[in-house]
Every structure is written in C-alpha cells, then in structure tokens.
Symmetry: C2
Subunit: 288 residues, 2 copies
DNA sequence: TATGGATCCATA
DNA sequence: TATGGATCCATA
C-alpha cells in the first residue's frame, strides 16, 4: 500500500526524546501500511479493476469490504507490541448517574463509594472509596439521580461514568503513550477518531496520535462513504486550534498501488449471519 | 417534545445585541421542539410502547424511524424565516486540485483564474480572476495537479475547493448568522456537526450554533446508534477548548413525553444495512 | 448495556 | 461527483 501524504495537525514537541518517540511510532505505522499486499504474493496492494464502485439504475454497487484491510494492519502492529482496543483514560471519566444502593456491587464499569459532598456548580463530587480514602471525581452538572443531592450525602452509591471509547491501538514508549486509529468507518467516524485523539492530547493522556485514512481515489474501491482525506481537509483548522501543551497529531493518507486482474474481490462484512452470507455471495456473483 | 437540558459549550458573548440574538434564536428552536407532537392531536410527543427497540435472537429490532421527527421541526423553523441547507462559508475554502485548461469553464463549484504564483509552504496561491484582479486563496500544501508548479504559472486553470458541507438551518439576525443542526444521524455524525459549527465560529463566519440531539432514553425508541447527549458528554472538553473570539455554541437535549398506545409507529427508510422495502414491511408486521 | 464500525440512501 | 444522513452489525 502506498502512503500519499503525511499531514501534521498538532506538533508540540518539547524535547528530543519526544521527537524520537513520534518518529519511531510513525515508522512502525508506515511499515504496517507497507506490508499490506493484495494479491497476497504481489509487490503492492491492488484492487480488481471490476471492483470499483459504480452507479447502476441509480444505485451504487460494487466496492470492496474494508475489514480485510484493517485486520492485517492491526496484526502487524500487534507483533510490534502495540495493544489493540486500548481503553481511553479513566481520568477523563465524568459521572453522569448516581444511584443509592442497599448493597455494594461489583460491576467493573461503575464506581462505588459513600458520598461526602456534591458540588454541581463546580462539577465535583467527594466520596469515600472502599479502602476508606476520601477521593474526588468530576460530575456532569446535571447528572441523573432518583434522589435529591442532600439525600445522597452519607449514602452508599454507584456512579455511572461516561468516557470516550477504546483506541484502535496504543503503545507505550517509556511512559508516553501513542495511539493509532485506522479509519475505514464512515467519514463522520473519522471526526470522532480525531476528536478522541485531540481530547486525549489536550488532557495529556497520550503523547502522539496517528490517524490512517484512505484518499478519495482509494475510497472509490471501497464501501461508500468511508473516511477519506479530502473530505476531512476543510476541518483541519479546527483540530489545529486545540491548545495542547505537548504532543503530536498526524494523519497518514494511504492509497492502493493500482488495479490488477489477479486481485481478489474483498468480501463485505456480514459476519456472523450465515443466512445473509449466502445472499451476499449471490449478489457478488451477479455483480462481477 | 420535552427539552431536558441546555448545555453551553462556548460562550463568548461580547455585547448586549449578541446575547439577544442568541436568546431569540434559542427560543425559536425551543418553540419548534415544543411543537412536535405525536399523535398529531396529542398534548406532547409520545412513542408507541411497543416501538421500543429490543434484542431478539441477538438482533436488535424495532425502533422508530427518525425522518418523521426532523421534517416538522425544519418546517416550523422555515416558517420563522430560517433557511435550510445553508452553505458553509466559502471563505473557508481550501484549494485541493488545480488543473490547466484550454478553455474557460463555467462550473459553479470551481474557481477559474490565471496563476501568478504558488507558495506551497505558506499554502497560498495568487491568481488573476476574470475581471483581471489579482486575488489570493488558500491551497492545500499537497494539492493535486497533473503539472509541476512552475508549469502552472501563467496558465489558465480551474481550482477545485474543499469546504464543509451545508448547515441544516441558518438565519441572519442583523449581520450575524446563527446555525442549527438537528442530529438524528449516527452519533459520529453529531461529532461532525459540532466540529462544523465550532470551525465556523472559530473563523467568525457564524455567531451562534445550536445542536439539537435526543438523550439516551429517547434513543431507545429510535434507530440504533443515533446521536445522543450522554455519548457526546465525554468530548465536551474538546469543543470547550476551541479558542473562539466571539460567539456561542450550545446543545439542546430533547426527550419524548412518554408512551401512548395511540401513538403511531414512525416508518423507517432503507438506508445503511436495512433490508429492502418489501422485506421491511414483512418484518414490521411480524414485530408489531 | 455501551461503543466503534460497516454499509447503503437521498439529493443537489 | 460530493456531502449529510439513516440504518443495522460486532463485540466486550
């Protein structure tokens, strides 16, 4: 697979080590992109010429599925000790719901404690955790609750948090974390991916963020409306305006190496439903 | 329809007139939300209790379609002189492709001119437009071109621009523009909507932005994965960090008033992975 | 239940 | 061709 651009959106690199970390991470991502081949024994990544999406009877048909692209990319990086589905930092958690309990629960996704004070205006709750320490957390000024704030004081409660979801891949370089998002979801999903990395940079949780996204030319061979560089371009000014103190955010743009009659059609994902699978195969045969 | 929250993300209001504009626009949005009723002659907006989405055999079924919600909302505001599908400002345009031409074209979406200079590093092109003026524009440092930069000098060219897409609704209050985005697309689409309004605020093109979005409770009665307040909550810090000079960005959160056996099922379209129309009708009959 | 994703639709 | 949207999927 080719790399056509490498666009830096945020670049607040304050020391040599930081630059080295970003450079190393970038090289590893590039290596994983470079390794993507189709057909498997080819010298690059080719699509079958007939797999290009086109409009017939006002319907867009064709296009390759995207999962066969993403999976080998993740695989290569996991072998370089990147960890997939890495959770976004808990320190960004915001408590959105508080519920008084009779008995202690054990849900891993909830926080348990005894309420000491609630300050809606400053979005802050203080509570005693199970080891008896007084700790504080951020609350949504309008968190959900069945009970008045006063009645919650002194009660044992569960607290539901809201946090950004997982990152595709992460790796620690020393004590600094770099995140990678491979984006072949809908273009709007690329907005969320960049938002997530920009937010984590803003809060100092990660030191580097890399978005890998196809260009529009490559998009023509894939599922309609997947993320592409050109369509994100007009929004760069927004991400560039985020006032991070340190860190780096970049977009790496990829494109297939060309077309080749020997390249396979990449199946589209109807995983898990054998019935749909059959229909899909029939459709594929009709199209190609 | 109920309004459950009104969350301000950016509030850089510098004069009384500005406050009045934001307040007026907000009231008009609230009025349009308030007017949403189902059944049509009811005192509020109710869903049929059986229309709540649920999981059967590992498949999520049910849920109302979202178009029947959005359309009357837009209609009310158009009657209050809001304009729909309002184009995002051309001054944010970035030139992403330049092509030498033999003859002048007339496409409305392209810029035509004779190139005077190209400065990739500073992302700037100077050209002579058809009235002979020298003007400049922003280019992508890696804009597409068949020709070398030097060869483009003195040539008549077309320039393709990239710009954010339309806004759902806009209205001028004096010379200041307020934008509204109604978000019942996918949650990631809400990220784009907020990004768009934040960007336009950053560039001073709009003075106010309003996102209308359901809360999670209401989302349970609608298409899976539509935008909802709770899921956006963890990202507020990002939009709040955007360094705007003046303007206002808010989220208005809506919820249905309850359930009622007399409420209709709101029909769904065939987007995404929906089964085709005929099948859909059969499924609906099975469910309800 | 919750979150990221993959897929196709409507329309200018 | 281009952009916002609507819909259902996979999985922890």
């Amino acid at each position: 697979m080719k790399i056509t651009k490498n666009v830096v959106l945020l670049d607040a690199i304050n020391d040599i080590e930081s630059r080295e970390i970003v450079d190393t991470a970038t090289l590893e991502v590039m290596e994983a992109i470079n390794k993507l081949k189709s057909p498997i024994d080819a010298d690059g990544f080719y699509f079958h010429p007939d797999s290009k999406a086109r409009v017939v009877n006002k319907k867009r048909i064709g296009g390759n599925g995207v999962k066969p692209l993403k999976e080998p990319f993740l695989e290569t990086l996991k072998q370089l000790n990147w960890v997939d589905e890495f959770p976004s930092q808990t320190k960004l958690d915001v408590i959105v719901k508080i519920r008084a309990l009779k008995n202690a629960g054990t849900s891993k996704s909830l926080i348990y404690g005894t309420v000491i004070s609630i300050d809606r205006e400053n979005e802050r709750i203080v509570y005693k955790n199970k080891t008896g320490e007084e700790v504080f957390a951020v609350i949504d000024a309008e968190f959900e609750s069945d009970t008045s704030d006063d009645d919650l004081i002194g009660k044992f409660v569960s607290m539901t948090t809201a946090t950004p979801g997982d990152l595709d891949l992460c790796k620690f370089f020393g004590d600094r974390l770099v995140a990678i998002e491979w984006e072949t979801g809908n273009i709007s999903s690329s907005h969320r991916a960049l938002n997530k990395m920009a937010l984590l940079l803003l809060h100092g949780h990660i030191h580097g963020g890399v978005l890998v996204v196809p260009n529009r030319n490559m998009g023509k061979y894939l599922t309609d409306r997947i993320g592409n560089y050109e369509e994100l371009r007009p929004y760069f000014g927004l991400w560039r305006s985020v006032p991070i103190i340190s860190g780096h955010l970049q977009i790496i743009v990829i494109e297939h190496d060309g077309t080749d009659e020997k390249a396979p059609f990449l199946t589209k994902g109807n995983d898990g439903l054998a019935e749909k699978q059959d229909e899909e195969e029939v459709v594929s045969m009709e199209l190609f």
